[in-house]
Symmetry: C2
Subunit: 124 residues, 2 copies
């Protein structure tokens, strides 16, 4: 997964289209493994493991109810991911020219905390 930090786990989980499809499904309703497997073209064990990945990334929670295990979307970790990406909005937002971006970058450079967050040397 590359990093073992939260953000890496989330981005890594999102990097698979099957898992994104599962998230999209769970955004509409909680679902069992069988229900999630139905529209996918892979085996149930494969889905089960995708769910484990999503669970490790804290993107879903699971509940037991008799024979069934329902998965529920827990999108909180998406916020961190969104926040991280948002920092670079100025780079794609067309209302900003590259000069604007440069000036914004220079300002950002002043904030020391900005860099630390993703410096791998800071991890573990």
């Amino acid at each position: 997964m590359a990093g073992t930090d939260q953000l890496s786990a989330v981005f890594s989980a999102l990097a698979d289209p099957t898992r994104r499809a599962i998230i999209a499904e769970l955004a509409e309703r909680d679902a069992t493994v069988t229900e999630l497997t139905a529209p996918l073209s892979i085996s149930m064990p494969a889905v089960s493991r995708h769910l484990k990945v999503l669970e490790r990334a804290a993107l879903i929670s699971r509940s037991r109810s008799g024979k069934w295990r329902a998965s529920r979307l827990e999108a909180a970790p998406l916020r961190e991911a969104a926040d991280w990406i948002e920092r670079y909005r100025r780079f794609w937002d067309s209302s900003l020219t590259r000069l604007d971006a440069h000036l914004a970058a220079v300002q950002a450079a002043g904030r020391a905390s900005d860099r630390m967050v993703d410096d791998p040397r800071e991890l573990e």
Copy 2:
């Protein structure tokens, strides 16, 4: 990388803290491989390959200028990533209760286009 689609490539690229650090660096200024390697605790070939990953995800562009190759942040693909995540904002936005989220989800279920985008069956 799981999927070979654009979105998967971008999320996959972001899943590594070293690559996020490189992006953060390039957000401040264009940089050569040597410059990017300096603050990292890995070898230059390793950085070179991280750059190749970022390039394949279209997150950077590179220019030759004599002996040096400068990398430049091309954040456009981040927009897609941000847009994808944004769809689930209602699930983490605290101003919305779970009931609200459910109602929003029911509405979303009506829009067929919502599901197709990430259905793996649609890929390739």
